[in-house]
Amino acid sequence: MHTLQTPPATPSINDLLQMYRALWRIRVFEGQVQRLAAAGEVPGFPHLSTGQEAVAVGVCAHLSPQDTLFTSHRGHGHVLAKGADIEATFAEILGRETGVCRGRGGSMHLVDAAHGVLGATGVVGGNLPLAAGAAWAAQARGEKHISVVFFGDGATGAGVFHETVNLAVLWKLPVLFVCENNGYAEFTSREEHSNVKHVSAFAAPYDLTAQTIDGNDVLAVYAAAGAAIAQLRRGDGPYLLECMTYRMAGHFVGDAQHYRSKEELAAVREKDPIERLKRHLLAQGVAQSELDSLGEQAKEEVQAAVERARVAPHPDPRTVGEYVYSAPSLAHVP
């Protein structure tokens, strides 16, 4: 496992306040998904990123709209942190015509091309080579932007993770592999999935630069991601960033979580990334009131967007057959 070459970037207080608000945005957003899912307003089975927000925020703080992002089944936070419109994202999760994918994709297949969100996959590991491919396209065109892919620790059980890492290293692709190691794959703990405790350990054989950090510390994520992305932009090849984190919610909305003890869940709350940034900012002399109002602003911003999404129109059933092919002539298949 390598350590950082370049000194960690240090965010200004203002940057941190932005991130604080961004963390709250995701937290509130996921809370609304949970609430409405419980109320039966959300189709499918959404997976929440509650507790893992610092990874999304700390990494995406370094990205431009041209940088491409791929995420997984647990991608709401990444998409928001990348700049996708809150209302359009929520509308997609509700399956509305105003959703980013016009209600065709849903929670597990969020795409917002205008903001560089090129996709999410419901098949674990399936997003990894796509991100490498986007990086290849940038490399082939001599463009300077990079590709980022977020995935869970369970995805390292999938062969395509290893295939993709091998190819990315071989081709020196500007792709950042961000693993959110939350210690579980569905109901099964990491120990039962693999003898390999840290995902970053997979990097060594390839001479892939990698680091394991505390993914609940947004400052640590910001610093590590900054250094990693700097390396990528220099054209020095891929980077694997493992962020140790915790999922405060169930695997999906409705998961009874029999596999986790009360104590464990309590301990998880201790590590809440929002609380930790708050403590840091208070120590830096930021007023409690300012932080509270930032939280409030995020809450209002999201809730307003959610309410607009809830009253947005549903897709027209007559349009169900659109977007299958490039040309109508190809689409005439019964």
């Binding site: 189709p43 499918g44 089975f45 997609e92 399956g95 509305r96 994918c101 209600g103 065709r104 994709g105 849903g106 929670s107 597990m108 297949h109 996959t121 419901g122 098949v123 674990v124 590991g125 369970g154 995805a155 059980g157 999938a158 062969g159 794959a185 569905e186 109901f187 099964t188 039962e192 999935h193 693999s194 596999y259 549903h314 897709p315 059933p317 007559r318 349009t319 169900v320 057959g321 299958v324 689409a331 298949v333 019964p334």
Partner: protein, 326 residues
């Protein structure tokens, strides 16, 4: 007292684990009960060595099950969604299905791959597919798709005891269906269809969750004075043409219904065989009711608009009986 599809499947697995020490379960989270709870409690009862959790490695676990089957275990592998069977196809198609043949009969692969398929409630494009048609195109495989809890109970047991690689497809909408277990349920033979309802004017051929929809259609048709016979194929590979022929010889009209997209679906093979083997029996063209050629959308109203339903079958059957549609 009635039980759900999931509970009855669990009972079948429990009894097979108890009956035959060579039966082993494996798959993602199966020791924790599985994503849908089918295997709940079985690891505790039969031991974690008989009911094993696996990593998210569809290719490897299918290969491991196949290799174990070559050595005489009878693995029952759970692939959580048939959409993920795409990751297991090299092994299933190039190895499991061909092993007996390539070895000149030296080896066999007595294995069951349980998987879950179909669309419901916004599972969206990658968790809703019906891909059974791929598997009926592969010599060496057997494909079973039960239509009810009690059917699933017997068919799963028959599949586990068969001695060939079996793809066992469970429709997610059936998981909550309830039935009473009969005292001593018979085990339906693999390869035999079932007449789910007798009729004389038109034959409705279906399988999996579509059987119940066909039965509803038959009720509706009865009200319109049309007597529909409903066939539950149960096994898609091999196909029970004898039962189909007997019904067509009686009704001379056929509607084939499945949830998979029509183009290249199982219905195509059935229609083609009826068209060639029973040409002179047909008073009207064989009609297929299936999903239009579109991925499964997320939004419920789009999903609903796409999926074939009772009314589509009724309309097709009426068309045949009243001579419309051709």
């Amino acid at each position: 007292m009635s039980q759900t599809f999931i509970e009855i499947l669990r009972r079948a697995l429990d009894e097979e684990l108890a009956r035959d020490a060579s039966v082993h379960l494996l798959g993602e989270d199966v020791a924790a009960g599985g994503a849908f709870g089918v295997t709940r409690g079985l690891a505790q009862k039969h031991g974690e060595q008989r009911v094993r959790n696996t990593p998210i490695s569809e290719a490897a676990i299918t290969g491991v099950a196949t290799g174990a089957a070559l050595c005489g275990l009878r693995p029952v592998l759970e692939i959580m969604f048939i959409d993920f069977a795409t990751l297991a196809l090299d092994c299933l198609v190039n190895q499991s299905a061909k092993y007996r043949y390539m070895s000149g009969g030296q080896l066999a692969v007595p294995m069951v791959v349980r998987t879950q398929a179909g669309a419901a409630g916004g599972a969206a494009a990658q968790h809703s597919q019906s891909l059974e048609a791929w598997f009926i195109h592969v010599p060496g495989l057997v494909v079973v798709a039960p239509s009810s809890p009690v059917e699933a109970y017997g068919l799963l047991k028959s599949a586990i005891r068969l001695g060939d690689p079996v793809l066992f497809i469970e429709h997610k909408r059936l998981y909550t269906m309830r039935e009473d277990m009969p005292e001593n349920p018979e085990l339906p033979p693999i390869g035999k269809a079932r007449i789910a309802r007798e009729g004389k004017d038109v034959t409705l051929i279906a399988y999996s969750a579509m059987v119940n929809i066909a039965l509803e259609a038959a009720d509706e048709l009865a009200r319109a004075g049309i007597s529909a016979e409903v066939l539950d194929l149960r096994t898609l590979l091999p196909l029970d043409m004898r039962t189909i022929a007997a019904s067509v010889a009686k009704t001379h009209r056929v509607v084939i219904a499945h949830e998979a997209v029509q183009n290249g679906g199982v219905g195509a093979e059935i229609a083609a065989r009826i068209g060639s083997e029973l040409f002179d029996e047909l008073d009207a063209p064989v009609t297929r009711v299936a999903c239009p050629f579109v991925p499964i959308p997320f939004a419920p109203e789009l999903e609903r608009a796409l999926l074939p339903g009772r009314d589509d079958i009724v309309r097709a059957a009426r068309g045949l009986v009243h001579g419309q549609g051709h």
